[in-house]
């Protein structure tokens, strides 16, 4: 585990050979501003998204045979069905009818034994096989038995589902995740079955969103009213990482929380009621209601590796996008997906324990209003940030030590992009 102010140039491999992150970004904390608005670099990022493992969802979303959901990868113009097939288990297919390319499933999730295309009613089994087409004898070029929906690689780690749009993935999921593939295997993610999802379009490059979620340096200012109190301890006001590591192209960090946070019952009676009846996801406070019956992440050996006394949570930042945030009383997933060089999509999901009372449901509703407003502060600010960068006013941006993860996130993605552009990234010589 590194302490917060020790950047380290460490190689990663996303299937194209070991590569070092861009040195200037990692060691000096200086990045060229055009990475956020260069169309050429965005095109290279599109290639990367089309060839690596991408977070798609959770196994609970396809728990029963016939359960399915759709994962869109907008930068690749891809829409992918992930489905539980009774015989073959979890499978993924391009959401594209074999007839003339119509989008097959238009809802975000559902439960079906058969997928029927809305255009001409061609129908497919959940293993992808073409089962029926109207006026079949007049399609001599189509042999049902040989036709299956176009498969997409799908695999899972610790209950998280990943897809790979490359017809021949360069790496298995296990290779892509590296040592992370052995972590959190039995962590109690499914003990938090009630979740709240939010999504919205952003007028900003996707990397700006991920960078905001990778540092707590902005909390005391941007979230002064909405989060500073519970997020920042007095002895760590800029939210320095308590310990972090780079694992291939991925990053893990341990975060603080504020053990001295208490809610003023007089000034904030609603928030006090909420916190007393539903442990705040990120809280380690003694005021949190007793959730003994709830398996906790707190003692998991793969979490809080620095063994911080006031453990706020761990963030697993998976290349190329998405953060799994694991906390004392729940967890969340936060991600920004590229759509265009100046457009992205924010998707986040917070996971709570099953509420036992209406009181607890109300408290969870309060939590979500709180979390939603914090991310709203981030997201509209980020749109303004993109505008500033796209103006070309700045040639470079700076990542300081409290933004240590950003040095690495940015340095890793830049090196990966430089590879695709045929540049001369620093490679590791053969060991």
């Amino acid at each position: 585990m590194r302490s917060f102010d020790e950047p380290l140039l460490s190689p990663f491999d996303i299937g194209f050979g070991p590569t070092l992150p861009k040195r200037e970004v990692v060691e000096n904390g200086i990045a060229q501003a055009n990475v956020y608005f260069s169309p050429e670099r965005f095109a290279a990022e599109r290639e990367i998204f089309s060839k690596v493992w991408l977070f798609a969802g959770r196994v609970e979303e396809v728990a029963q045979p016939g359960d399915w959901f759709v994962k869109d990868v907008e930068i690749c113009d891809a829409s992918v069905i992930i489905v539980n097939d009774r015989s073959e288990g979890i499978k993924a297919f391009h959401n594209v009818c074999l007839h003339r390319g119509m989008k097959l499933l238009w809802e975000p999730r559902g439960h079906n034994g058969l997928f029927t295309c809305p255009y001409h009613a061609w129908s497919f089994a959940t293993d992808g096989t073409l089962k029926a087409l109207p006026d079949e004898e007049n399609f001599p070029q189509v042999c049902k038995r040989e036709q299956k929906l176009k498969p997409v690689s799908v695999d899972s780690w610790a209950g998280f589902l990943f897809i790979n749009l490359d017809p021949h993935p360069q790496q298995t999921l296990e290779q892509f995740l590296g040592p992370i593939s052995n972590k959190l295997i039995d962590a109690p993610f499914d003990a938090y079955p009630r979740s709240a999802s939010l999504t919205s379009p952003m007028d900003a490059n996707w990397k700006l969103g991920n960078e905001a979620s990778g540092e707590g340096y902005h909390v005391s200012s941007l979230h002064r009213k909405s989060a500073k109190g519970w997020a920042l301890p007095e002895d760590n006001p800029h939210s320095h990482s308590l310990g972090w590591e780079q694992v291939g192209p991925h990053l893990i960090t341990t975060l603080p929380s504020n053990p001295d946070f208490t809610v003023d019952l007089t000034a904030r009676p609603i928030q006090a009621f909420a916190f007393m009846n539903q442990a705040q996801i990120t809280s380690n406070s003694d005021d949190a209601p007793d959730q003994e019956a709830q398996p906790s992440f707190s003692d998991h050996p793969d979490l809080n590796r620095p063994k911080a006394k006031n453990w706020g949570g761990d963030g697993f930042f998976l290349f190329p996008t998405g953060q799994i945030g694991v906390f004392p009383n729940g967890w969340w997933f936060n991600s920004y997906w590229p759509v265009a060089v100046d457009k992205s999509r924010w998707y986040a999901r917070w996971y709570f324990c099953a509420p036992k009372t209406r009181r607890q449901r109300f408290a969870q509703e309060c939590m979500m209003a709180m979390y939603r407003d914090v991310l709203t502060e981030d997201n509209f600010s980020i749109n303004g940030q993109h505008q500033g960068l796209a103006s070309g006013a700045l040639e470079q941006v700076y990542f300081g030590y409290p933004e240590i993860l950003l040095r690495h996130m940015s340095g890793i993605m830049q090196a990966a992009v430089d590879n695709r552009l045929g540049g001369e990234p620093e490679r590791l010589a053969a060991e």
Partner: protein, 115 residues
């Protein structure tokens, strides 16, 4: 169509039920909060914020599942306090700074496994 009044002991919240008691989702409640003045939000806050324990002790005395209409309306009304909390206790303003008005965003709740 007549509106079912709130349970008698909560009749003081009837003025707030007119606006908040029809709303079903967080998105609707967030939109209403954005449209109200601080005075309107504070008035609701002052009438209800210190009665939450009483309100939920009452509501949780009913079995799981659908509440009778008067109680369901009470529950929907009180859910509005999740948004009032943000405006009155956190920001001192109805809207999040720099967010557009109106700001539409859905909070989609799901529960995996059996409800």
């Amino acid at each position: 169509m007549s509106i079912t009044k709130l349970p008698d002991q909560f009749s003081a919240l009837e003025p707030f039920a007119e606006k908040w008691g029809r709303l079903e989702t967080a998105s609707e409640r967030y939109l209403l909060r954005q449209s109200l003045t601080m005075d309107e939000l504070r008035t609701f806050h002052d009438a209800a914020a210190n009665r939450l324990d009483e309100i939920f002790t009452y509501l949780d005395s009913f079995p799981d599942g659908d509440l009778p209409e008067a109680e369901a309306r009470l529950y929907r009304t009180v859910m509005g306090l999740s948004e009032v909390m943000q405006a009155v206790e956190i920001f001192g303003a109805p809207r999040v700074k720099n967010a557009p008005y109106p700001h539409h965003i859905d909070t989609i709740w799901t529960h995996s496994g059996s409800e």
